[in-house]
Symmetry: C2
């Protein structure tokens, strides 16, 4: 990614965290990014494009961490995420229900990551590290629900120790003896 | 509760679900409830009071169901909840972080329910139905995170089978053999 695009995305992330998605007007995006609307929207077509580019970065990072380091480290990092930025996701979650265009785009974006995680889950089952009496998609969904539940707390400004939650989640998906 | 208060709360719930919390203006509350603002705010001091009265009803119902029927039936009902109403909670979750008055009030309201559930968890541990090598508060938090994660999906308009999730959650908290 070129430096100008990087600069725009970093500024947009700050603006969304500071003002919320709805509250991040073009004027506020300009102020935080330090570029004119012409320059910003030359690189990204719309405010929604900016959000989706940021969410894509987050999701790639999360999938990579999950695949390479495991579920515990991912959960720890999410629990440490900037609450104001996580709050933007809560705003978008509501739009997923009310705005079909946002919804369609979100689902399309997620499917590639889901495919990778599913492969990983199958691999862990084959190696005997994850129980194989439950469908790999269901194990992925279960861990995803826990990620979402933690994110909801973080976005609401609650910060708690996640270690006991990681332990319980890992026990849930461990091979049955 | 007298009939007039009941009527106001039912109408407010419909108005919040239809327009969102922010979008439920006084004019829209009047239209949905079928009463003047004078009559509405004679019984409830503010829009926030209306939301908190509704959340209190939900939370009492959830705690009662959890205590009497268990975690599975509660999760099934939440997965079946009206997505538009659950979306109102996502809106309020963000306000918990940004509005100290909302936050303080929410925490105060939740502590009584938390106390009841903690007692219940201790009882289940004593009866050998829930593992006792994890603090009862942590088990309650774990199940709460799962409830929140499901609620986030429902509020985003995603409806999935919760049975595999219930099974995995129950395995996580089952006594270790």
């Amino acid at each position: 990614m070129d430096a100008r695009k990087r600069e725009i995305l970093d500024g947009a992330r700050r603006a969304f965290a500071k003002h919320g998605y709805e509250g991040a007007t073009v004027v506020r995006l300009e102020a935080e990014i330090g570029l004119s609307r012409g320059a910003i929207f030359h690189h990204f077509q719309s405010k929604l494009d900016l959000f989706f580019a940021l969410a894509e970065e987050d999701q790639q990072r999360a999938a990579k961490q999950w695949l390479e380091e495991g579920f515990g480290p991912l959960l720890r990092r999410i629990a440490d995420e900037n609450p104001a930025w996580v709050g933007v996701y809560l705003e978008i979650a509501r739009m997923l229900r009310t705005d079909p265009a946002v919804r369609e785009r979100w689902l399309r974006k997620s499917s590639e990551h889901d495919r990778l995680l599913l492969e990983r889950m199958r691999e862990l089952q084959a190696r005997g590290e994850v129980r194989d009496d439950v469908e790999p998609t269901e194990i992925g969904r279960f861990l995803g629900v826990i990620v979402d539940g933690i994110a909801l707390s973080v976005g609401a400004g609650v910060r708690d120790d996640v270690e006991p939650l990681i332990r319980l989640a890992e026990d849930a998906i461990a091979p049955r003896s």
